[in-house]
């Protein structure tokens, strides 16, 4: 891989380093903008570990977490991130069953806007839904996952984890294995990691692999063992329950046989290869406990930790203009 010739973010003045109003996806971000968010997150990693001084930079900022799809971990992570920065965090969770039609979606967006939210975090089951809301509101919108489209903060926290553990992202061979077809985590990760010049391989049975995935500059594999050769990072995806029972794969037992990450399989990767999973894990399906809990190799709990830091960085950066931070106003 040739080295990136992008201008370092530090050379750009003030807000020019991140000229976006919303974070709806990794698509549309320049490599130096991704790096900037990662750099910003570093300070929060340290701060969260020390918990010495509390930061109140989002004092008086109203953050609404509007989740139209069930989520525990991501919602909690965004809530903690906002509160650590002093924001007033309000959670709005709408059961998936009661919102089927988008009229409610637009109406909800307009309602949230009328309540003068300062930043809105949205998760929705339809691809593109977050972008739709972003067009209708006056404040920054943060995508916490839309359908099978994007989940940008997940990709950022994964990139941060890799960068901290492996020292660099460029040139790392990252193997992403699982339900690529329905995974927004996979899409955002592919975009972020390829932008930062990683060598990305995706692994899935053909029934769970999107067509034309090569167009996203990754190498597709159906054979997990072959893909693992020389891997620096192995990223497993969660297999959703509704895909397990025959429509896309015959059974979890067969899936585990072909795509489960076991110690024997992991041995094909680099001796120090990192194991990652966005959670929640199906232990014994896509990953065995002995791998998930492998000391020194599994970064799964670290990913959760990086998640809070990355979300703090995103909330901070996106609200800088409205808060009138010097150079950003």
């Amino acid at each position: 891989m040739p080295p990136s010739d992008h201008r370092p973010a530090t050379l750009l003045p003030g807000g020019a380093v991140f000229p976006h109003r919303h974070l709806t996806g990794i698509a549309g971000l320049q490599p130096h903008e991704i790096t900037f968010l990662l750099d910003e997150a570093e300070q929060w990693v340290e701060a969260n570990r020390n918990r010495a001084k509390s930061d109140r930079r989002l004092d008086g900022v109203t953050q609404i977490n509007a989740f139209f799809e069930n989520s525990t971990r991501t919602l909690l992570s965004f809530e903690i991130a906002g509160k650590r920065l002093g924001a007033d965090v309000v959670n709005m969770t709408v059961a998936a069953s009661s919102v089927k039609k988008g009229e409610t979606l637009i109406d909800t967006a307009v309602t949230l806007n009328a309540m003068r939210a300062d930043v809105i975090v949205i998760r929705h089951m339809a691809s593109g839904a977050v972008g739709l809301i972003a067009d209708k509101v006056d404040c920054p919108v943060l995508n916490a996952g839309d359908g099978a489209h994007e989940h940008p903060t997940q990709a950022l926290l994964d990139a941060l984890t890799i960068r901290r553990r492996r020292g660099n992202i460029q040139g790392q061979r990252v193997v992403i294995c699982g339900d690529i077809l329905h995974s927004r985590v996979a899409r955002s990760n592919i975009l972020a990691l390829t932008a930062l010049a990683a060598d990305v391989r995706v692994v899935a049975p053909t029934t769970l692999m999107p067509p034309a995935i090569e167009a996203m500059h990754v190498t597709p594999f159906t054979d997990f063992d072959a893909a693992l050769e020389g891997a620096d990072v192995v990223m497993m995806l969660r297999l959703q329950n509704e895909r397990m029972s025959g429509a896309y794969i015959p059974s979890t037992r067969e899936y585990h046989r072909r795509y489960g990450l076991t110690p024997e399989r992991l041995a094909r990767a680099q001796p120090d290869a990192l194991v990652m999973h966005p959670g929640p894990m199906n232990r014994g399906v896509e990953i065995t406990s002995s791998v998930a809990d492998l000391p020194g190799r599994s970064a799964i709990t670290e990913q959760v930790e990086m998640g809070v830091a990355v979300r703090m960085a995103c909330l901070d950066v996106l609200t800088r203009r409205s808060r009138g931070v010097e150079g950003w106003a």
Binding site: A27, K100, I106, A126, S127, G128, L132, P210, P211, A212
Partner: protein, 407 residues
């Protein structure tokens, strides 16, 4: 009552393009070409503009008079997917009258009861009530046995079967064509072969029964190849297309714009190019608008939740001319696809400028430039994927049965 349209550029699918006059007597064309003005005739000076048979728009989903008048359309073939569904003679009869007096509405009755694809609908009684064909509606009939019986029964009655070509096993719950765009956007997608699969089955069944079959929209290279070969073998098959699939590829979906959500979905660029070839070589018989106005409550939604369809009646002529320039079609050939062939398919005595035909005419300026603006459309809704596109070709006057219509 006689009217002479003089000083016109006459565009006739049957006789070609020439300068001349056209005499209308009552609701019929009396003479075309070099015509002396009868003493009692009103004279309309066409100022050298183009006069062609009015468009016969086969397969619209709404009766939208204003859009049709603005688009040079005097007759529409109305799809059975209405509320209530056109599967009963009373409903068919009411639909047939619903455009009066400005628009001829020719109902296409449902091929199966409630369009469910299970039981045959009353085709003969519905035909007596005014139906000009039967259709599978927006969907495909999944059960091959049912489709075989639909085709056989329609053949007995001399009715054309208008089919939608998308294999429902592959296309169910999808909103896009499998490819790079759908992959990047994370949209549920069906492979393009879903169309050719459906066409292949229906062609075999049509050949077996000898029925006339018309695929309302064919949009893929593989689909056109099947139609081309079937025609060469002598099967009574025709097919149509809308300008959207001639001018846009699935790249247009990239920003989740729901006005580009169509059925069948927009295809790969290679299929679009194949469509232009198929238009040029005569594989495509019919250019239609697929007019399906959808307001914000059905379009201002996430892409997967939005209703498919575009508002196309008033842009049909201009966009057809745009496509015709790429496919190197003459004006007479364009109106063959817009007027004569759809009229023939529905058994109507219109679609050319020959004497004795209904005096359904469109006066237009083939060179007049304008810009499509969704918000300024007269249709019931402005859901066009061509918002902002500069086009050439403007309708000046739509004439139905000798009567000049005003929007």
């Amino acid at each position: 009552m006689k009217t002479l349209y003089r000083n016109a550029r006459l565009v006739c699918p049957a006789t070609g393009e020439r300068d001349g006059s056209l005499l209308v007597e009552g609701d019929r064309i009396a003479a075309t070409g070099v015509v002396e003005a009868p003493a009692d005739a009103a004279i309309v000076d066409c100022r050298g503009k183009w006069l062609a048979p009015a468009i016969v728009d086969l397969g619209v989903f709404a009766v939208d008079k204003a859009a049709c008048i603005a688009g040079g359309i005097a007759r529409v073939g109305l799809m059975p997917d209405q509320s209530p569904i056109l599967d009963d003679p009373g409903i068919v009869q009411r639909a047939a009258a619903s455009g009066k007096p400005e628009l001829w509405v020719h109902p296409i009755a449902a091929a199966t009861r409630e369009l469910k694809g299970i039981d045959l609908a009353e085709m003969a009684i519905n035909a007596e009530a005014g139906a000009r064909g039967v259709a599978t509606g927006r969907g495909w009939i999944a059960d091959s046995g049912v489709m075989a019986r639909v085709l056989g029964y329609a053949r007995d009655l001399g009715l054309a079967v208008i089919a939608h070509a998308e294999d429902s096993g592959l296309a169910a719950n999808t909103v896009a064509t499998a490819g790079e765009t759908a992959t990047r956007l994370g949209l549920p997608a069906a492979p393009a072969v879903a169309e050719a699969l459906a066409i292949a089955r229906d062609l075999m069944l049509a050949e077996q029964s000898g029925a006339r079959i018309h695929f309302r929209q064919v949009t893929t290279a593989a689909g056109f190849d099947l139609i081309r070969r079937a025609k060469a073998r002598g099967i009574a098959v025709t097919c149509g297309i809308t300008p959207a699939h001639l001018l846009l590829s699935d790249k247009a979906v990239s920003d989740f714009r729901t006005f580009t959500r169509l059925s069948p979905p927009l295809r790969d660029e290679s299929d679009r190019v194949a469509a232009l070839t198929a238009l040029a070589d005569g594989t495509i018989n019919v250019l239609c608008s697929g007019h399906d106005p959808r307001g914000p409550e059905e379009k201002r939604l996430p892409f997967v939740d939005a209703a498919p369809g575009m508002s196309g009646a008033e842009t049909l002529l201009a966009l057809s001319l745009t496509a015709a320039r790429s496919a190197d079609l003459s004006l007479a050939q364009v109106f063959d696809r817009l007027s004569r062939q759809p009229a023939k398919l529905m058994g109507l005595d219109c679609g050319t400028l020959e004497a004795g035909m209904a005096a359904d005419l469109v006066l237009f300026d083939a060179n007049s430039p304008w810009q499509i603006v969704a918000d300024a459309m007269v249709a019931r809704a402005g859901n066009t994927p061509f918002d902002g596109l500069p086009v050439e070709g403007r309708v000046l006057q739509t004439i139905k049965g000798g009567v000049r219509l005003t929007a």
